[in-house]
């Protein structure tokens, strides 16, 4: 057989490398996971939580910083963990724990996505805040579940960053000239998008199905209208992109389902009000937004 005229096709192991990176990523802090589990048990006391959290000084420091921010509106400066936990409601404690545990992952520069160190942290916090505003607006009964999904919805970007960076020209060509969405372009160039990688990370970190499914679906218009948590997460992210908070090269290169608003029973006026409430709450959270510097 004459091989001279045959083109040698090199196998592309990008996807294998990407999945290899998932196992190298540090796990979500175990103490936070344990504390979140305890909070779901009605018999848990404040002291039980303190016993779990007190051995992690970084988490304790972050919890105190977040608790003392204007966002939680406490009258006095709190200096001890047990006082902080006693003063806050269960959902507030969950949110503080998730934000605190996520900080090391979300305060990084993502060159591939054109995001500065503060962008991913601001975008994630804003999405969490927006999710809370939407929950209050429509009366959704598990705001902390949605908050967790919202804070971590773009965690897949951390892993894909280097690969996106290496193939950014291809991705931008596909998304720009060819008119594909950014997620479609990620799939075409890498064999995966940041949503499915993020979802896999959260599954490996033992987060509940509702959360990693919503993370998986947040850019897929056919999927996110099929369950409420996914729809709420998708809308939270869309509103934060509309506010331009922490938005990188993927920007507005996504398609929105025509059924999203109908599924959630929301109208145009609701969107205007939610944009205002989200922006006001986001600017009130300035101490938390500064945490990426630490």
């Amino acid at each position: 057989m004459n091989m001279d005229n045959q083109q040698v096709v090199q196998p592309d192991f990008t996807l294998e490398y990407i999945f290899e990176q998932l196992t190298k990523l540090p796990t979500f802090p175990k103490v936070v996971q344990k504390a979140l589990e305890l909070l779901d048990d009605p018999n848990t006391t404040t002291q039980d939580l303190v016993e779990v959290l007190k051995f992690d000084p970084a988490i304790t420091t972050n919890i105190l910083k977040i608790t003392n921010s204007a966002r939680f509106g406490l009258q006095k400066q709190v200096t001890s963990l047990d006082t902080a936990l006693a003063l806050l409601g269960q959902n507030q404690i969950k949110e503080i724990l998730v934000a605190s545990g996520s900080l090391p992952f979300l305060s990084r520069e993502l060159y591939g996505y054109g995001m500065r160190p503060e962008d991913l942290w601001h975008h994630s916090m804003a999405t969490g805040i927006c999710a809370e505003c939407i929950c209050a607006h429509i009366g959704f009964d598990d705001p902390s579940l949605l908050f967790t999904a919202a804070i971590l919805h773009d965690v897949g970007k951390i892993v894909l960053n280097l690969f996106v960076g290496a193939k950014l020209d291809t991705i931008m060509d596909l998304a720009g000239r060819e008119g594909f969405t950014f997620s479609e372009a990620e799939w075409m160039a890498l064999g995966a998008d940041h949503a499915i990688i993020g979802s896999e990370i959260m599954r490996l970190w033992d987060f509940p199905l509702d959360i990693y499914r919503a993370v998986r679906n947040h850019h897929d218009p056919d999927l996110y209208v099929q369950d409420k948590v996914s729809a709420l997460l998708a809308l939270s992210n869309i509103l934060v992109v509309m506010l331009g908070i922490g938005v990188g090269t993927d920007g507005f290169r996504h398609k929105i389902s025509p059924r999203l608003m109908e599924v959630l029973g929301l109208k145009k006026d609701d969107v205007y009000e939610l944009l205002l409430k989200t922006w006001q709450a986001f600017t009130d959270a300035h101490e938390i937004l500064e945490l990426y510097k630490s």
């Binding site: 054109g114 995001m115 931008m172 998304a175 008119g179 969405t181 218009p221 869309i238 992109v241 509309m242 506010l243 331009g244 908070i245 938005v247 990188g248 090269t249 993927d250 920007g251 507005f252 290169r253 996504h254 398609k255 929105i256 389902s257 025509p258 999203l260 608003m261 929301l266 109208k267 145009k268 006026d269 969107v271 205007y272 009000e273 944009l275 205002l276 922006w279 006001q280």
Partner: protein, 155 residues
């Protein structure tokens, strides 16, 4: 030259030629850059939504279009700008590739602003609107508007 950041839902008008006005991360919002070269007055107004029910939010005089534009143009003329000499540029309105009308906030905002400017006889000199970009703009008496966005050719 010192820069002054105009945040969402606010505006700034000045006649200080050493100042550059900046509006970052416009998203689906709209920055209206305005300049009267003769009097040296210029300003930037950062609008976010077309309408809001109820009273204007505290500290955000131009979050919504109608009252925001009114307050902004009053300030421009109060500082010495002449309506007939005003030149205007519109920047922003990032758009998703496909979007249901309830979420097409930028397009509603843009239509309303255009209509209001035309009704008041204020000419639009240039537009940097639309596309899937999260734009930022810098603007001064002799500068720009200088528009940038992550993922655009310029950046």
């Amino acid at each position: 030259m010192k820069t002054l950041v105009v945040t969402k839902g606010t505006y700034h008008v000045t006649n200080d030629e050493e100042v550059a006005l900046v509006a970052k991360n416009l998203g689906s919002g709209l920055a209206i850059c305005i300049r009267d070269q003769e009097s040296g007055v210029f300003g930037l107004c950062y609008l976010v939504v077309p309408f809001l029910k109820g009273k204007d939010p505290d500290g955000l005089p131009s979050f919504e279009c109608n009252s925001g534009l009114r307050a902004f143009f009053k300030e421009v003329t109060d500082v010495g700008g002449k309506r007939e000499a005003l030149r205007t540029w519109l920047v922003g309105i990032g758009q998703f590739l496909e979007c249901p009308k309830e979420l097409n906030v930028g397009v509603h905002l843009y239509s309303l602003v255009k209509k209001t400017l035309e009704k008041n006889g204020i000419a639009i000199e240039g537009e940097f609107v639309g596309g899937p970009f999260n734009k930022s703009v810098q603007f001064g008496l002799t500068l720009g508007p200088d528009v940038t966005a992550p993922g655009s050719k310029k950046e």
